[in-house]
Amino acid sequence: MKNKYSIFSLIKNAFTNHENWQRAWRDPEPKKEYDAVIIGGGGHGLATAYYLAKKHQMNNIAVVEKGWIGGGNTGRNTTIIRSNYLWDASAGLYDHALKLWEGLSQELNYNVMFSQRGVMNLAHNLQDVRDLKRRTHANRLNGIDAVWLSTDQVKKFCPIINTSQDIRYPVLGGTLQKRAGTARHDAVAWGYARGADELGVDILQNCEVKGIKRIGNKIEGLETTKGFIKTKKVGVVAAGHSSVLADMAGLRLPLESKPLQALVSEPVKPIIDTVVMSNAVHAYVSQSDKGELVIGAGTDDYVSYSQKGSHEIVEGTLQAILELYPIFSRMRMLRQWGGIVDICPDASPIISKTSIEGLYFNCGWGTGGFKATPGSGDLFAHTIANNEPHKLNAAFNINRFVSGDLVDEHGAAAVAH
């Protein structure tokens, strides 16, 4: 690697006031033709390009991004990583990603600050208890670490939770995945961008796709704001805007794009050293390394591309947080924002070929795509390179909406979608 990051490079650059660091990726002009083009420079898109170049020797490829890389949902999520999904197909997919997370900083020579601080899912009613226990068993059968915690064990693991039985939704127990945790979201995009660039991938920022050209049933290229780019393979990884791009190719998708909100508080000293999620009251909270509480809210129920959500959603989440963590009652919130998430009817993603030759879609991640970033990129790259899905993403094909073989993770994944 031309500019390997290490303690030595840090010391060396300290002597020149850090003014001589090489830029992490180039800013090239588009070539006339590529072997494949990925639409969308978020974590999933950049990871796809990285693995295409690294594992499938496709080096004449580009990533086109209408804004700047990592400026969409990659920079807007609450950075939670876990793999405790109920169904076998989902467990395989998300645990593949989790295993890649475990070596990602070394793989990319870029500190993605992956922190296996554990994710705890709370149960607030009897049905929650049954569902979460069932999911714990399913996880363990799939080789995924999961344990059931009693109310006392929950309190011991995270002492600031109010486990009093007279609150509106008392804590009746919870599950814990210790290998789960968080990572620095921006670093994931930057690390993959740097790695892909190193392998020859052109990352074209401020380059918006205006049209997808095809002749007959074959992809010919892309109309972009930087001119026509010829290519035979296009991988679309555009999250909330997937339907807009599908429409350009004359394809219909089973997606609805909705606002999902998150917020952070003012920074405080370390107070919560894990991630706690509550499905029933839809509140989840962790603490960033800067000290801010990172709080995830729910989606609105209407279609919107405005990157704004309703106030009542945030209010509902904060009510739940206050009841569960009375210690936060005087915390002030610093920022609140929204991202547009593309939700499938079964709340599982699509990583698939389409009926158009050379057109591939990776979409439908809904509210939980960040955790899958490395796995999603790896499997999508495999699908594009071989024109066939990997066995881990075979179930996540687009035809499941015709065959009825859905991967129904609504609620079952321990978070309300």
Binding site: L253, P254, L255, Y302, V303, S306, P345, G404
Partner: protein, 91 residues
């Protein structure tokens, strides 16, 4: 948060309403005749438009009546509301 003009009750806060998705999806007249592709189209495929979209809403915490709306999904601006069974006020 936006104000929605319920055609039956007048202007109310959005929190009183629930969105019901894309409007004017016609239920198949002969469900038994449908192919798998047609079922998928009816059940799952959505326009998910960025821009002017026709959609259904229900005044769930009010009169509980369904109605239709013309809304710009790129900026959440509501252009019109109209009752079930009526033609959309724009094309």
């Amino acid at each position: 948060m936006f104000i929605i003009n319920c055609p039956y009750c007048g202007e109310r806060e959005q929190s009183e309403f629930k969105a019901g998705g894309e409007a004017h999806i016609v239920r198949p007249k002969q469900p038994t005749e449908l192919s798998d592709d047609e079922w998928a189209e009816y059940l799952f495929m959505r326009k998910n438009i960025k821009g002017i979209q026709l959609e259904r809403w229900v005044h769930i915490h009010g009169c509980r009546k369904w109605f239709n709306m013309v809304r710009d999904t790129s900026n959440d601006q509501i252009h019109a509301v109209y009752k079930m069974g009526e033609k959309p006020p724009i094309k």
